[in-house]
């Protein structure tokens, strides 16, 4: 389909040996339920969640605000422990956060007293205990360059725009080179252009590692979800949200953003996702 588009900005180099189906499981979510105790009693955010994610897969979670996407992500990162069920990541039951799972938090979570540079350095320094200081500085500079913040690296988070903060958080998560990347609306605050280039950076990074990195991403953007993912997990509305449907995205990689929009399969998936998300709504006028 995309021979005619070779001249356009091709995102990933074709790696024919990439066969997702033959891969091992990177993350296995088994019958997970998460309940919070609130002043009004027990509140079940998500339940009956079972999901297997293979090594190298890119998965998107979509669903309406408040349905429990972040909560589900946090069970993989270990920030939230399931009330029942278990999550296995990299063959270990998740009991807490670890540097094998890099996180981009929905609210960026930068340390306000540190510059852009230091925010990333402190994470790199903590994770790569055996690397020399020079190597660590090189890593930090590389990722700051990747997110185009070199000229802002000495600024404090309070001096950055929302999109810039988001890019710092992305650079920080990428810099520790985790085998699993957990991205909670990582591109939400970015303009379309920056978003596009961040998509490419994300895929580049994924390709660099022979597509061995597993990426789980929360997004509200259907086009983004289809363009990046192998599977899109659609969640029901909460409380006690479950998985509504897992939609496979069988679009050949490398994908081209412009060309893909006209692919009949893309259009079919797009319609299916829209239908899943908005079935209860009709516009009354």
């Amino acid at each position: 389909m995309n021979t005619s588009n070779k001249s356009l900005n091709l995102v990933d180099s074709a790696n024919d040996f990439h066969k997702i189906n033959s891969r091992e499981t990177a993350i296995s979510i088994n019958n997970v339920e998460v309940s919070f105790s609130t002043p009004k009693g027990k509140f079940t955010a998500v339940k009956d969640i079972s999901l297997d994610i293979k090594r190298g897969e890119i998965i998107s979670l979509i669903g309406h605000s408040g349905c429990g996407k972040s909560t589900l992500m946090n069970t993989i990162s270990g920030m939230v422990l399931p009330t029942s069920g278990e999550v296995i990541a990299n063959d270990k039951v998740v009991k807490g956060p670890g540097p094998d799972r890099g996180i981009v938090f929905q609210n960026y979570s930068l340390l306000p007293w540190m510059s852009v540079y230091k925010n990333i350095f402190v994470a790199v320094d903590s994770v790569f205990k055996n690397k020399s200081t020079d190597e660590k500085h090189a890593i930090v500079n590389h990722y700051i360059e990747m997110v185009n913040l070199t000229s802002h690296k000495d600024k404090l988070p309070s001096q950055l725009s929302g999109g810039m903060k988001q890019r710092v958080a992305i650079a920080r998560a990428f810099a520790i080179n985790p085998s699993i990347l957990l991205l909670d609306e990582p591109f939400g605050a970015l303009d379309a252009l920056t978003k596009g280039s961040m998509h490419i950076e994300l895929l580049k990074l994924w390709n660099l590692d022979n597509r061995n990195k597993t990426i789980v991403m929360v997004t509200h953007d259907i086009e983004e979800a289809i363009f990046l993912s192998d599977k899109v997990v659609v969640m029901n509305n909460g409380p006690a949200a479950t998985i509504k449907k897992i939609v496979d995205v069988n679009l050949e990689r490398p994908r081209n953003k412009k060309a893909i929009a006209h692919d009949p399969e893309y259009i079919r998936i797009h319609d299916e996702l829209l239908g899943l998300l908005f079935d209860k709504f009709s516009i009354e006028d």
């Binding site: 956060p97 996180i103 340390l111 994770v127 404090l156």
Partner: protein, 262 residues
Amino acid sequence: MNSFSLKNSISNALYFIGSMLVLIGLWQLVTILTKNEIPGPVATWQVFMELMSEPFYDRGPNDKGIGNQLVSSLIRVFSGFGAGSIVAIPLGLLMGSSKTGMKLLNPIVQILRPVSPLAWFPLGLLAFKAAEGATIFIIMITSLWPTLINTAFGVASIPDDHKNVGKAFGFSTWKYITKIMLPYSIPHIITGLRLSIGVAWMVIVAGEMLSGGVGIGFFVWDSWNALSLERILVAILIIGTVGLLLDKGFNALQNAFSYNQK
């Protein structure tokens, strides 16, 4: 400094001068109403100039210049304040970082905090066998509470977002303390220190009245015995001014460390 903040500081200075004029006016009024029983600003100014003409004279243990008195008080306050802070800050960090610590220590603090520091004076005498040690001891007790409470509160209020960074990137305990806990709580700690030095400076006057020796509090008491109200008024003004300067100093420190305002 831009023209706006320049204008601002000029108007602040004018207000300060105005405020001092109001004070002097009221003071003069009181003097007139009490038929000079309370010395007026002019008489007090003369005594002030007299005292300041030789602030550091030393004619034996009971007769020293006002500068000497002030310096001894300041040394005492800073020794007690330093000792109190060295205890209060680590204890506060500990208290704030553990729920159990907070629940266990907080009732103790709540019971001891309202006690006038002077009540500790006899215990200080018992422990140090000297008035000097006892005075520093009560200043130490005084400086303990505000710093302890503010430090503990600061640490306990570290947002989950900041803690999560430490968890997600596997910070060691040391890294967590130095890169997250301390930077977040330093503004709170400095607020505590500022309150502590303020109370300590109030308590030192009373403490020195009890202990005697050299010091601005003792100077007030001594002046009362010598029936020199002018000297007492001079001392009051000096105590107030030094207190104000101490507060301003800590205020500046607070501003220097508040990352949010930058």
